[in-house]
């Protein structure tokens, strides 16, 4: 007599990341039929807004997602940072991430991960599974673990990112690139979904963020040449989410084993009314001067400069003993920070306040790397994009860029309601706890 047992499906988790997709935009696109599958998910599950860590840029946000910690603990404060005790700039890599990522923690409990296009994981390092690094990855040979997958991905036409230089100038090219990179992600997903025995699967779509940077103005303007193209791309992303979800149901069942399908973004987005050049503002207010007329970087500040800014709104006090040309005594730093905060919060453009808040690092960060953080981080009102260029001689500016990030309009979707007042640092624990439960 033969006994047949239905094989119990193992607990899995699949995360789809949509870079830079705002909660408020999803609300609109699920209502107007552009994203029909997301509309279904919204009805069946829980779509909510989520805050992220400051500054609200992908390098910091994704690091906060991956590690479930704030920058004071994971050590990534921006796309670039100062080398200790200097004004030299460095571009942090995955090796600078000081806290374990989701897949490192899952490895500890014997779980295997497949991660496609995760920003801020370059160069890829060994994980229990597969890791394909996303932005700012350059060389695919250094962006893939295990390296043996590189030829297969190349054969599939997998591209890490769009050609931003060309896309910035040529919007037709941008649209084409967005589709071809998304197709590459789908093919990589096809390749790895069935071939790898995974517990955790993650794929990030970065095309949404790129679309916003260059064509955000097309969204609200029906007469814009690329208005329809904007919506069509979102429709395509909706199909990508749908096909991934359906695949997930096939392998994970209806969730009774506790499997989870999750969606999130790393920050929100909004249009740019003006770019605010904070170093220019500091110079006009007398806090910053340079050794030469046309400075190239913060290394050119004078030895009487009291403060300087790195992108986007990270304000450093030029402390004596901390920086080579530092002139601010530690006792004096407090009053300078207070002054800058008070003045910045009063800055207006055409009658509108520009800065919501200027946070002290201790207010927003905690952990062993707090000392490496900027002394203050400015948060602007939507529409005012903070910049740290030393080359601009106007405070208010407008360039080819159309969209800017927001910190309180990222989104998170899950079936059950996980937690109130979600922050991006909560997600990793939700994933790990679910595997442990």
């Amino acid at each position: 007599m033969a006994f047949f047992f239905k094989k119990k499906k193992k607990k899995r988790c699949c995360v789809v990341g949509l870079d830079g997709v705002p909660f408020t935009l999803l609300e609109v696109l699920t209502r107007n039929g552009v994203m029909p599958f997301m509309e279904k998910l919204k009805r069946d599950g829980n779509l909510r807004s989520m805050t992220v860590t400051l500054p609200e840029i992908s390098a910091v946000s994704w690091s906060s997602f991956m590690t479930g910690t704030n920058p004071g603990t994971h050590g990534i404060f921006g796309f670039m940072d100062l080398k200790p005790q200097t004004y030299s700039l460095t571009f942090p890599s995955y090796n600078d991430l000081k806290a374990p990522a989701i897949w490192d923690n899952l490895k500890e409990i014997g779980k295997r991960s497949v991660v496609i296009n995760q920003p801020s994981t370059y160069p890829a390092r060994p994980i229990n599974g597969v890791l394909i690094s996303g932005f700012v990855a350059i060389d695919i040979k250094k962006a893939v673990y295990p390296a043996s997958l590189v030829p297969q991905l190349q054969e599939l036409g997998y591209k890490i990112d769009i050609d931003t230089m060309k896309a910035r100038e040529d919007k037709d090219f941008l649209i084409k690139e967005l589709y071809s990179t998304l197709a590459g992600r789908s093919k990589a997903l096809d390749l790895l979904w069935g071939n790898e025995d995974w517990d955790y699967f993650e794929v990030v779509v970065t095309g949404t963020d790129r679309l916003h940077h260059y064509l955000w103005d097309a969204l609200g303007d029906n007469s814009h040449k690329y208005h329809q193209a904007f919506l069509d791309y979102y429709n395509k992303v909706d199909s990508f989410v749908e096909s991934t979800y359906k695949r997930f149901l096939d392998v994970a069942g209806d969730g009774e084993e506790g499997s989870e399908f999750l969606l999130l973004s790393d920050h929100g987005f909004t249009g740019i009314e003006k770019e605010i050049n904070l170093n220019c503002w500091l110079a006009k207010e007398g806090y910053l001067s340079y050794m030469k007329d046309s400075p190239d970087s913060v290394a050119d500040i004078s030895d009487s400069a009291k403060a300087f800014v790195l992108d986007p709104g990270r304000i450093y006090i030029n402390y004596k003993g901390k920086y080579p040309k530092g002139c601010v005594e530690s006792a004096e730093g407090e009053s300078i920070m207070r002054e800058i905060k008070e003045k910045l919060e009063k800055v207006e453009f055409e009658g509108k306040k520009v800065i919501q808040n200027v946070y002290r690092k201790e207010e927003i960060y905690s952990g062993p790397y707090l000392d490496r953080a900027a002394d203050m981080v400015a948060l602007s009102y939507p529409g005012f994009d903070l910049k740290g260029s030393v080359k601009k001689d106007v405070v208010f500016d407008k360039t080819v860029l159309q969209g800017m990030h927001t910190w309180d309009d990222a989104f998170f979707w899950s079936f059950g309601r996980k937690k109130d007042n979600l922050n991006i640092t909560d997600i990793s624990q939700i994933i790990i706890d679910n595997f442990k439960s």
Binding site: M80, R125, D139, T164, L401
Partner: protein, 200 residues
């Protein structure tokens, strides 16, 4: 970062304290919390009053191991520098401490006698100091140390590099050889992309 213990063992004058301090400096620069437990200092407080009999030496090493374990489990890097001549007690500590890296500072008696910075070997050989490890007291060489540094032959830099490399390989500390050290071309490309997207 998780805590771990680096245990330097070896004869007196073999370079344990020097290497421990060098490694401490590098780990501090990398942003880790580090504490050094040097046996010479521990004997002036935590193990004050203990002598150099086998029993007293074992108690001393167990005490240092106990503190290292407390530090390690609280995510601090504990660095112990102690002759720790007996294998059985070293192995007790290895069992006790979850993340344990033993560094054997190997150096021949001849080289140590020649080096003899503190003049102790000369005195021990003349019989003026009793129970001196390596002269009239045993030193049981480790057979399972994670790192063996031959301080009689290697430069200080070579030994330190070997230790740091091992910590990286064992994933106790992140690798830096390819960390943010992008090639010039790579850095230019990253900068250009960040500019294109308005991030810098």
């Amino acid at each position: 970062m998780k805590g771990f213990t680096i245990w330097f063992t070896g004869l007196s004058g073999s370079g344990k304290t020097t290497l421990a301090r060098e490694v401490e400096e590098i780990l501090l620069e990398r942003g880790l919390k580090v504490e050094v437990l040097d046996a010479d200092i521990v004997r002036t407080n935590l193990s004050k009053g203990l002598g150099f009999s086998k029993e007293d030496r074992d108690i001393n090493i167990r005490r240092i191991g106990f503190v290292c374990n407390l530090l390690t489990r609280n995510d601090v890097v504990a660095i112990a520098a102690a002759i720790s001549p007996y294998k059985s007690v070293r192995d007790e500590n290895r069992k006790l401490i979850k993340n344990y890296v033993e560094v054997f500072c190997k150096c021949s008696i001849d080289a140590l006698t020649q080096r003899d910075v503190k003049g102790l070997y000369a005195k021990a050989l003349k019989g003026e100091i009793k129970n001196f490890t390596g002269v009239d007291d045993p030193y049981e060489e480790p057979d399972n140390a994670e790192v063996v540094v031959d301080t009689g032959k290697e430069t200080e830099e070579q030994s330190v590099a070997k230790i740091i490399k091992t910590l990286e390989i064992l994933n106790y500390i992140p690798r830096v050889e390819d960390a943010n050290e992008y090639s010039g071309d790579e850095e230019d490309e990253i900068k250009a992309r960040l500019k294109d997207l308005g991030y810098i």
